[in-house]
Amino acid sequence: MVIRWRHVVGVLVACILGAFLVTWSGLISIKASTGHWRITDIVLHWVMRSSVRSAAIGTKVPAFTKGMLPMAAGHFEAGCAVCHGSPAMPRPDSVAKMLPPPPDLKDKIVTWSDAELFLIVQHGVRYTGMPAWPVADREDEAWAMVAFLRRYPELDGDQYRALTGFTAIASQGMDRLIATCNGCHAPDRLRPESLIPRLAGQSSTYLEQALIAYANETRRSGVMAVAIEKLTEAELKDLAHHFAGEGADPMPLLAGDLFERGQTLALKGDPSRGVPACLSCHDKAEANPSYPRLSGQPAAYLANQLRLFVEKKRGGGPFKEVMTRAAAKLEANDISALAAYFSARDIADQNAPN
């Protein structure tokens, strides 16, 4: 017998129909309870590893700082530990029967490079339940998480708790919420290298506008999106009122020459480059309460926020466009100088441009 084209086409059509019938009949099991066949498991993992490896080619890894750890640890406790467990809490039974089960990261992290971890954290993994980072354009937050994950295998329960500062066992009492916020934001936990802002000293107007901006994603942050995801607008306002108004001491000074440069820029701006004086809006006695206090904020936080403004990624409350314009012409050395200056500046400093 000669195989003709119509035989080939017939077999193809039969295959498609057969596949359709098998699917329709419900013979394919989607039960997570029985797990994958061994061969399926091997192939799926092979696909994942190959995909992540190729996607990671050419990714530039930034320098990791100590300041990245508490912010990432706080987010890990709020968003990741519920599936992966943590050094302070075993993986919950409720997720052990997910397919694939979320791995205990202690042994897995060492098998990935920094760039590969970044890709998994930033983009998630399809078909596994591993979600992408809550917002798309905050690579700096995902990199902080990678810095934390690198340290993760060597952390014991106490060290982990010391980094997170709170336990995400949900209870919505106001005391509990404040304790959770303080896990990251407590003034005595912040250093100049922290990426976390100090809430003390801000106006309740600014804090409320910032929290609402996080909630409706006009200010995008994966960390803050998860941190406030279950809160009502009334609770956000209560939190803003609670944290507003406390005094804030200056941070220790990092570098003297940077301080001087920052001071000049903050007081006079640089009209030739289109940079206005920071102090014409911020940290004045009679300032608009929507303009945040900068004095005494951690330098790393200030620098990171300014970079986000320059990259037009910062977002924020109703005045975000004003600051986006004001920051547009800042260069990298301006940003480090301003961060050093405001971090060490005393809020009571009466040196104002006007």
Partner: protein, 315 residues
């Protein structure tokens, strides 16, 4: 009626300065002379198209060609050229025949407004203003012309010009106003989305008024502590706009000292009324596409109204 478009605040056909008047005279000579010659040529054409019994002799035709086709154009064109060459020094600064101007005002074109710096003079200090130029009638004035970002061009049609403003260069121009009045000067080199909305006012004044104005400008405003003044500082307006005597020396945006005296809001964009100032504050780019000032539509309406009242009241 058809000639009403030829007069007004921005017409080179209604000169109020020596340079513009010289160019206007040249134009008149050209138009009148050109019209006469055109009539003569058309007359000759009509004459030549008539049937005639006997053709002109070769000698007569030759004479006509030599006188009408060679000698006449040669004389007329040479005369015009001589006139134009003689005129040039008076409208071009590098051949200036006149005495040097006692005052050189620096004007910088920026997207999309004019930064104007007056030098110190006769015991009066230097100061900066914006979008409005005041000149002394009967006195020659020099301009040092610059650009901050792209090429702009400086032209006051009733006084003379124009001269390009080129980033990284300083061009000079000198003008001599002969009549008092309020005039308009548009940017005359395409400079971006709001090029057509970039103009300044020119006010030519009597000596006494001019000196009084300069004295007041240099001294600046007196802080009154009113609500609008406080809001101006509180919302950070003073970070870009200076009001001499009241705020710090901010020079990012146009200086607003005695803003209430100005003819327009937004460098010739809108008439200077408090409603228009409020509109401009609320969303500058809606009136002036590409303006660098951000929209302040998030401010409460009463704050915007108070700031507008304050600015319009700065007189």
């Amino acid at each position: 009626m058809p000639l009403s478009g030829c007069t007004g605040v921005q017409s080179a056909l209604d000169p109020a300065g020596e340079e513009a008047a010289a160019i206007y005279r040249l134009l008149l000579v050209m138009v009148v002379g050109g019209t006469l010659i055109w009539c003569a040529v058309v007359g000759l054409l009509l004459h030549a198209s008539q049937r005639r019994n006997a053709p002109w002799s070769e000698r007569t035709a030759g004479r006509l060609i030599v006188w009408g086709g060679v000698a006449f154009p040669l004389v007329v064109l040479l005369a015009l050229l001589a006139y134009a060459v003689w005129l040039m020094p008076s409208i071009r600064p590098w051949l200036a025949r006149h005495a040097p101007a006692p005052e050189t005002i620096e004007v910088t074109g920026e997207q999309f407004w004019w930064r104007i710096r007056y030098p110190a003079r006769d015991g009066l200090p230097a100061f900066e203003t914006a979008n409005e130029l005041r000149l002394l009638v009967g006195e020659r004035v020099a301009f040092s012309l610059k650009a901050a970002d792209v090429i702009h061009s400086f032209w006051i049609p009733v006084l003379g010009g124009k001269m390009d403003m080129i980033p990284g260069r300083t061009n000079t121009l000198s003008l001599s106003p002969t009549k008092t009045g309020i005039f308009r000067a548009p940017c005359t080199e395409f400079c971006g989305t709001s090029h057509t909305l970039m103009a300044f006012s020119v006010i030519v004044m009597e000596p006494a008024d001019y000196i009084a104005w300069r004295r007041a400008q240099a001294a600046g405003d007196v802080p009154g502590g009113g609500e609008g003044e406080q809001l101006f500082a509180r919302h950070g307006c003073a970070g870009c706009h200076g009001v001499r005597g009241v705020t710090g020396p901010a020079t990012l945006g146009p200086d607003l000292t005695f803003f209430g005296q100005r003819q327009t809001v937004g460098a010739g964009t809108l008439a200077n009324t408090k409603e228009n100032v409020a509109r401009f504050i609320r969303d500058p780019a809606a009136w002036k596409p590409g303006a660098k000032m951000p929209a302040f539509d998030m401010l409460p309406s009463k704050d915007i109204a108070a700031i507008s009242d304050y600015l319009v009241g700065l007189k």
